[in-house]
Each structure stands twice: as structure tokens, then as C-alpha cells.
Subunit: 464 residues, 2 copies
């Protein structure tokens, strides 16, 4: 087994070469690498040299072996071509004439109902109260006052303020948690489909991602257990309410089953709670995985950016005790701390009851739009799409009926020409093509008149 | 070479077990693992099984092989014990009676000279001008206006605004760059000693870190070239002015030599420019690696937090063209974007000339303190320490003379009891003990009277 020096050099060279081919897209994500025999013959080296090169590629997360089938390339970036086109289109449009578009791609409230004057007076109050410390302080856990407010207002004091870590939005939360608890090749289960920003983080960490399909009340539990039996899973990433993109919410029963499995199979649940404040269906009662968690299995991540103000870049997370210190260190390594002034302003905004009243306002207007969009879908797209009613959140996820030829990327391109913007489902799957019959339409940036016009246009395009 | 299934399971188990021992500190960072023969005998398995386990550990960054010497454990966290004590002390003190301490640990301006009223009026002007878009917008490269100001004011328009990426401080800059360009086991060269926050990031990415000693005008070039000849180096992390902790600045000659080597040996320079605005010695002229770089080899990272307001959490970076897209994606994966309101406020603050006048004020007061601290060191510590005059920045790095028994951790503990806080050198080395004869004292949080008292106390403690 002791390789001589020459063989070692050879397999390192082969490894390096293949890594480069993968990094530069010469080898595609998921592409099968030549068999060991083929490769050895082609390069005129020992089979053992190729075996060693492939092993290192696997260990470093550049390849995955499928038993009995061979070795496949693994890339960090997913779905690059279309997602690049998608972001280019959105970027270009937002910079010039966004007002002439019906924009169904909005993922967050538009700000039109936000009273900037309230926020301005809160900011000034903070600056008068705290002076330059509002801009000087670096609190690694986050501003004490804000952690207190979060504990009081959102958790009825049931979570200790020192168990709360302020982060710069949910995306950072996912990144910080991943760095702390996931290593190369660790296995992560995600919902199928899921939020592309999370998929990206897990891909960048070169983890093994297993998708599990989502049903009307959460993922399928039998399927989850099958995966857990076969794989040592490190964590499960989930959006418990109005899942992005499907709009699904978990039943409490499923949450409990998943928590029980987490205990049995020793994995952790990363709960991304991004829009649970917007509930229009009175039968939906809110209880997070975290609130049902008696075995300290949940990393709870809350974004204030999604529901409140995207530009504010504040969220928080509540880690299990076991990972508390490493997640805190991961945050410090990432950016030391989150902007102190913004934390202080948000704190005061919450304490003054302005947060609650703003969320109440949003619930009123967005419920109206939700109901209206549903009516329009029923009216214009009835025979073209299927969907599950989310009962909250900011969007609908529609499935184009099987007998219709158009796919969602084509629909995106055509509707863009008619000045209507949608989000194709392809962005939410590990294998993009699995989402080509789905698209997402959100109503946060579109008033009722335009909701109707936009859906009429989509209906015309889907039929053709 | 085809291992049977049982052997595969065995080596994976061994690997997993050793990883756990490393993660839980049962095996120390840098500890030698048992030889392959010993381990095979001890576990009663084939040598090949151990070889495979060790190989995987290496590939995943948990171990390093030193030719002819054996395999050594590699940990992500460095220097945990003392750095934990250090941060606990600082945290505890800052939360109660910091005013009774002479705090030489400050790394940033204290804010006492910052005119909060100017900043407040700038903030209000932004809110009046931009309304809620100041809080809604998420610009992935950063706010357009700020990127323009940076290009105009700091680079005379020589850098295109679209080559500038706004980040949430330099720490995030280092993290984002590392994620984009460094893989597990890639080799990074750092100065010895260096900034512990950067060491942490590189450790967390499980890279191979090679330290190279710093001299009066930068690192030793012969030594650098020796390293480059032996290792495939991915990048070199450097602080070009008033290096943290040594206070050294690079000569232009050394900068040019390093740039030349970067071209020859194909590596990149991560330049962390954190305090170059504070120059007290008129013979020091500012020119960054970036400004001398004709082959696009430099990732320039600039912090506004360090020199300006730590709580503002804004910095920027200028990547080489080659990595531009991957570094931008890395930022999006990390936290989507940096707080938009703070970027807009900083932009206006710079445009109104307030930035320049604040920095000028700081130069006046800190030069006075710098001169005074040097005088006090000469007066009280003359026979106890050696140091290089930095000529700028916010601190001195002192070496305790060899014939004196006390080390800097002891000095930290003793001086803390006398209400004087210093930073031991141990925090700045891969192997902490190498820094035990050094300590850092900064003057940004201490007025002249206290500089003198503090240094008198240190002198009493070092002598004993």
C-alpha cells in the first residue's frame, strides 16, 4: 500500500486537474467521471493512482460515489446559467423602468405601507439617547436591549436573552450555522423544492444534499425515515410556515414526528422562520419547531428583513446549547457583529409597539391582495395550473398542467417581453429541470388592478 | 486495491472517531497521531485501513502529513484557552466599570472625537431624500452612490465603481474572499505574528497556514521565496501599513518584490488596509499593494469600521477580475447585502467632506498620544522592552527583554489586577507560546495622563 513518491505526485496531479475542470465548468455538476479502468488506461497510470485521486476528490467534496454506478462530479454553484439570466433581468429592470412592469417576483413587503417618519423619529431618539456609542459598540451577541425585546415580545420571556444571537439577516444565519456545524461531505436534508439561497450555502460548503419532497402538511415522514436509516444525517433545513416556494405549512403532528426522529437519529433541525407573521387563514395557528422542541434539537433562524425591511439586514437565531459557542464564534469570524445603530433602532421600534402595528397593517392589505390573487388564478388560470392554498405569506406556487407544453423558463422569457415578471420553479431544485413545470407569483409589489392584468397575460401565454 | 466492504466501514469509523477526538480537544492541535504501524496494531486492523483513514483526515483538513515525520492533528480553533480568558475579561469589564481601568486593548478610535450631531443630520438628510428605499433596497454590490464616492475620493476615479464590492467590515471581507478562493488544504501564507481574526478564518476553512516572520520593512523575501518553491501557495494575507500587531509598514521595494513573486509563483495577495489613514511620521508615503499591482494579483480589503466607527460595520473590497464573480456570489451567500441606510449615510458623510475632516482631527489627537506614549515607554520601560517605531496607527508592540522572567500572559493577569489592560502577543501566533514575550498597548482609549500612569504600572510589574 505504500505508494512510491512518483505515484503520489501522479495522483495529486490528476486530482488537481479534475478539480480545475470542475471549477471551470469543463466538467458539469453531476457529470459521471470516466471509470477507474478507462481513466487509468487513458492516462497510462496504475488503477490505484486513479482510485487515490478519486478518493481525494470525494473527501474534498468535488465528487460523490454512487454505489455500483461510478463517481460523479460535484460543483459548488448550482443552476448557474439560468439563475444568472434571471438576476440580470431583475437587476436591469429595477435600475430603469420598473414601474412599467408587473413584478410578481417580489419576496418581501414593498415598503409602500411603511411609515418612514416613525422610523426616522425612532432613529433620532436612539442617537439622542446613546450618542456615539450607537455607532461605536460592537456587541458580539448583539445589542442587549434588542435581545431583551426579542425575548419579551416574541417569546414571552421563555428564551433567555443570552441564548439569542443577532445576525445580519436570515441568509447570514444559515451561513453562520453551516460554518459552525457542517463539514465537507456532511449530509443535509432539504425540502424539495427549497429556498435557493440555502441550497447555495450548503453547496458552497460541499455538503451532501438530499432533497425530500414536500406534501400538503410538510415533508413525507416515511421518506424522511428511509433517508435517515441509510445516511448519517447532520441536519434538516426547513421553512415551517409558508415554505418558499411551495407556500406549505407544517402540521403540528408532522413537526412532532420530525422532532422525535431528530432525537432518535441524532440530527438537528435548522428552522428558517421567514414570514410566519402573515397569516390570513384563521385556522392556521402558529407554533414553531423551536416552541415544540424539548430535546434541544432546533436551530431557530428568524429574519426581520423578509417581513419588515430588507435593507435593514437584521435577524436573530437561537442555537441549541450544544452549538451555542461554536455558532457564536462563527458569527464573530464572519463579520464580528451586526450594525449597532440599526439594532438599537429596531429595538425601540419594537418596544414602542410600532412593529406590531406595522405587521397588523400588512396583514390587512396583504390578505386583501392574497384573496384577490387567488380569485384571479381561479378565474383565468383554472384549467392551466394547480396549486395548494398557502393561507398566508406573500406568494402562490403554481404547477402548469402536464398537458400544456410551455415550461416556466419559456414562460419567464415570454412574460418578461409582455412586462410581467415571474419566478420559474427551476431555481428551487438541486436538479433545475425538475422545477420546469412550476412558477411562483408574489403579490407584495403589485396592486389589485395589476394582479388581474398580470394574471390575464400569463393565462394568454400559457394557453398558446 | 479494492477494499472489501468491511475494511471500508472500518476506516470510516476510525476516521470519524479521530475527528471527534480532535473536535472535542481530546487530541490537541498539532499533536502527533500514532504511527500507522502502532495504530494498526492497537486497533488490530490492517495497516492499509489506517493509511486510508489518515488520508481522509488529511483530505478533509483534520490532519497534516510532515514528510518523514508522521501525521499531525489540525484543529479549527486556535489558542482557545487563553483567548477565552482574554475575551471574558474584556467583556466583563466593559459591561461594568470600564472607566476605572486604563484600557490599552482598544483597537479602534474611541468615538470621543466623533461629532455625532453631524452624523445625525446626515442620516436625516438621507431619510428625507430617499424615504423608505433607504431601508428597502438590497444592492448586492452595495449602494451605487457609495461605490461612486469610494472611487472618486479614495482612488481618484482609477477604480471602476463596479469593481468595488461593499462588505460589512474587513472581517467579512476576509471571510467572503476565503470562501470564494480557498478550499480545504489550500496553502495560505500569513505574516508572523498576524491578526487573530484572519488566522481564525483560515483555520475555519481548514487551510494550511504557513507563517513567515516580519522584519522592519515587511516579511523576509528570501524566506518567502523558499516557501513558494516548496509549496503551491494560493494566497498571502498581509497588512501593508501599521501591521497588526507589529506596527510595521512595508517598503515599496518589498511590495514590488512580493508582487513580482505573486506573478511568478501564481498566488494572490489579500491586502487588509485597516489603518493607513493615521500616519504621524512624514517620511511614510502611502501606496497600497493594490496601487502598485499591474498583474491583477491583489484582493484589496478596506475597513471603515476600524478607522471610523466600529459599530457601522462597513468596508469594501476590490477583487482581481478573475475572482470578481465568485467573490460577489460569496457575499450574496453570506448575507445578501450590507445595510443600505448605513451605506447611504456613509456616502453622504464622505461627500460632504465630513470624513476627511474627522480623519484630520484624529490624526492631530492621536499623533499627540503616539508621541507621548513613545516618550513614556522610553522613560519607564527603557531597560525592559524593545520595539520598532510604527510611525502611525494606534498602538505599540513591545518585546520583553530576554533576561526578564515575566511573560505577557502573566503580565496581562497581574496588570489587570492593577486595573491596566494589555493584549498579550500570544493571540497573534499559530503557536501561541511564540508570542509570550510580546505585548501590545494601544492609545486610542487612553488620555495622556493615563498613558503615563498605565505605563508606570507596567514597568513596576515587569521589573518584579
Amino acid at each position: 500500500m505504500n505508494l512510491n513518491r512518483e505515484e503520489t505526485v501522479k495522483y495529486l496531479l490528476i486530482e488537481k486537474h479534475i478539480k480545475k475542470l470542475i471549477d471551470t465548468n469543463k466538467i458539469e455538476d453531476g457529470e459521471k467521471l470516466p471509470s477507474i479502468r478507462e481513466m487509468a488506461e487513458f492516462l497510462n497510470v496504475n488503477k490505484i493512482t486513479v482510485v487515490n485521486a478519486y478518493k481525494r476528490l470525494q473527501a474534498e467534496g468535488y465528487a460523490a460515489q454512487k454505489i455500483g454506478s461510478g463517481t460523479y462530479a460535484k460543483k459548488r454553484d448550482i443552476n448557474k446559467n439560468f439563475s444568472r439570466e434571471y438576476s440580470k433581468v431583475l437587476k436591469k429592470i429595477s435600475s430603469d423602468e420598473v414601474k412599467n412592469y408587473i413584478d410578481f417576483t417580489g419576496e418581501t413587503p414593498s415598503g409602500e405601507f411603511f411609515q418612514i417618519s416613525f422610523f426616522k423619529s425612532v432613529l433620532n431618539e436612539v442617537l439622542d439617547r446613546d450618542g456615539s456609542s450607537a455607532l461605536i459598540c460592537q456587541e458580539s451577541l448583539g445589542y442587549d436591549g434588542l435581545r431583551n425585546s426579542i425575548s419579551d415580545v416574541f417569546w414571552n420571556g421563555n428564551i433567555d436573552k443570552d441564548d439569542i444571537l443577532i445576525v445580519s439577516g436570515a441568509q447570514q444565519g444559515i451561513d453562520v450555522v453551516s460554518k459552525a456545524i457542517l463539514n465537507t461531505n456532511d449530509t443535509v436534508i432539504v425540502e424539495k423544492p427549497t429556498y435557493s439561497g440555502a441550497l447555495s450555502v450548503f453547496k458552497w460548503r460541499r455538503t451532501e444534499i438530499i432533497e425530500t419532497p414536500i406534501e400538503k402538511d410538510g415533508i413525507n415522514i416515511d421518506n424522511l425515515e428511509k433517508i435517515l436509516k441509510k445516511n448519517k444525517v447532520k441536519c434538516f433545513y426547513t421553512m415551517s410556515y409558508f415554505q418558499n416556494p411551495t407556500g406549505i405549512s407544517y402540521s403540528n403532528e408532522k413537526k412532532r414526528q420530525i422532532l422525535r426522529l431528530a432525537d432518535i437519529y441524532d440530527f438537528y433541525i435548522i428552522e428558517d422562520d421567514y414570514l410566519s407573521e402573515l397569516i390570513y387563514d384563521d385556522s392556521i395557528k402558529y407554533s414553531s419547531f423551536k416552541s415544540l422542541d424539548s430535546s434541544d434539537r432546533v436551530v431557530y433562524i428568524k429574519s426581520f428583513s423578509k417581513i419588515f425591511l430588507p435593507g435593514i439586514r437584521i435577524g436573530y437565531l437561537i442555537p441549541p446549547k450544544k452549538f451555542k459557542e461554536s455558532i457564536q464564534n462563527s458569527k464573530i469570524n464572519t463579520d464580528i457583529s451586526t450594525s449597532s445603530l440599526m439594532q438599537r433602532a429596531l429595538d425601540l421600534y419594537i418596544r414602542k409597539g410600532l412593529w406590531r402595528s406595522y405587521i397588523n397593517d400588512l396583514n390587512v392589505v396583504y390578505k386583501r391582495r392574497y384573496v384577490y390573487m387567488k380569485k384571479c388564478i381561479d378565474k383565468y388560470l383554472k384549467n392551466q395550473v394547480e396549486f395548494v392554498e398557502p393561507g398566508g405569506g406573500l406568494h402562490f406556487y403554481l404547477k402548469i398542467n402536464q398537458n400544456i407544453v410551455i415550461d416556466s423558463i419559456e414562460l419567464f422569457r415570454k412574460s418578461k417581453n409582455r412586462r410581467v415578471l415571474i419566478t420559474p420553479g427551476t431555481l428551487f431544485y438541486k436538479v433545475p429541470s425538475e422545477g420546469k413545470k412550476y412558477f411562483k407569483i408574489g403579490f407584495s409589489h403589485v396592486d389589485e388592478k395589476n394582479i388581474e392584468s398580470g394574471i390575464q397575460i400569463l393565462s394568454e401565454l400559457i394557453i398558446m
